[in-house]
């Protein structure tokens, strides 16, 4: 049986996602049904992301795709495709929130916890399998960040915790980029401008989520 890089990557990604989900379930104190709902929503958005990646990849290489579909489908997408897909997925999340079909507060908590822990496992496995120095250094950054996140979890206000985690991750990525000449997350290059833009976007998302939930609570009190 031929085990290709694509198959290995998919297995590493799946193991990382399962690890992240287990940590989220153990860490979060919400009701079981709520956690299940958030994990389902995260999975749904992850599937959306994958679908968008394929669609954009095909659109950008339509001429090659019509001639030789496998050449496009079998080739790993680059960061430009990933960034575009992430922006569209973010738009879907915002749309669902505006329609009242998404609890943005719990979703952002789950998303950041899962991102940190899954990335940590992903880089760890990558380092163990490929003996990759960059993966080792990034894993150390993520592990330290997660331990701080874990210690502060439920000790400081959640929105400040999440924003601190996002900003610290961004600083880590930018530093790694300048030290190694490249920085990746889940195999995709994270250019400093995109990491900063992503952090700004997620910070706005968190602030909006917690701002609107506070407003809702006040209205309920009245």
């Amino acid at each position: 049986m031929v085990i290709t890089e694509t198959l290995i990557s998919a297995v590493i990604l799946a193991v990382s996602a399962v690890f992240g989900s287990i940590i989220y379930i153990m860490l979060n104190e919400a009701a079981k049904s709520k956690k299940k709902e958030i994990l389902e929503e995260l999975l749904s958005q992850f599937i959306n992301l994958i679908i968008f990646i394929y669609i954009i990849k095909i659109i950008l290489n339509l001429d090659v795709f019509l001639e030789d579909p496998l050449a496009v489908l079998a080739y790993p997408s680059d960061s430009a495709v990933f960034y575009a897909s992430l922006v569209i997925t973010a738009a879907v999340i915002i749309y669902k929130n505006l329609k009242g079909r998404l609890d943005l507060k719990e979703f952002s908590d789950g998303m950041i916890t899962l991102f940190l822990t899954s990335s940590m496992m992903y880089e760890f496995i990558h380092f163990i399998i490929y003996d990759d120095t960059y993966a080792f250094v990034y894993f150390i950054v993520l592990a330290v960040l997660f331990l701080v996140f874990y210690v502060l979890y439920n000790r400081i206000e959640k929105r400040y915790l999440l924003i601190t985690a996002v900003l610290s991750w961004t600083v880590g990525i930018v530093v790694l980029f300048f030290v190694y000449g490249t920085a990746t997350a889940f195999g995709y290059t994270m250019r400093p401008w995109f990491a900063v833009l992503l952090a700004a976007g997620v910070t706005v998302l968190i602030t909006t989520a917690y701002g609107s939930s506070r407003k809702d609570e006040k209205e309920v009190d009245r």
Binding site: I3, T4, T6, V72, A74, P76, D78, S79, D131, G187
Partner: protein, 173 residues
Amino acid sequence: MKKYIIIAVVVGMLGWSFYEFFGSSDNDTHQEDAGLAPGQTAPNFEVDTLEGNTVKLSDFRGEPVIINFWATWCPPCRAEMPDFERLYNEEDAVILAMNLTHSENNIEGVSGFVDELGLTMPVLLDEEGTVEDSYQLSAYPTTYMIDSEGVTQYVARGAINYETMYREFMVLE
């Protein structure tokens, strides 16, 4: 209890990675045997290029080398070729594009493919399949990234994109 489990898992992962990182780098310096795994010296070969020159892997000792095994009939090989060409031109990387010539219909097809994609990196011809056998290929394309000491540092079975190539090449350098 949950708290301690999570901390124990993360600390365990940290400990393992530190052990692997510092422990394995000591071993690597002593590993001079030929083999296919990362950390082992890549098997030498001598083949002709498409231009008719003879190339030996050992000629490149002292600089990092990327060997990419490919064929014209392999769609993912076709997809990743322009990215290898880009790495060759932009980063001045030594890339040996090893064509599995014994599996091709004819050599004109290989020349046509090279012209069509405008490849300028050296295209090597594995006419008898001996290099493929010595590297025991199980997937197409396969890429070996070899450091300046001739030791394999990274193997990709299947297509990789430019960002992975670039990242692993940076590690080699």
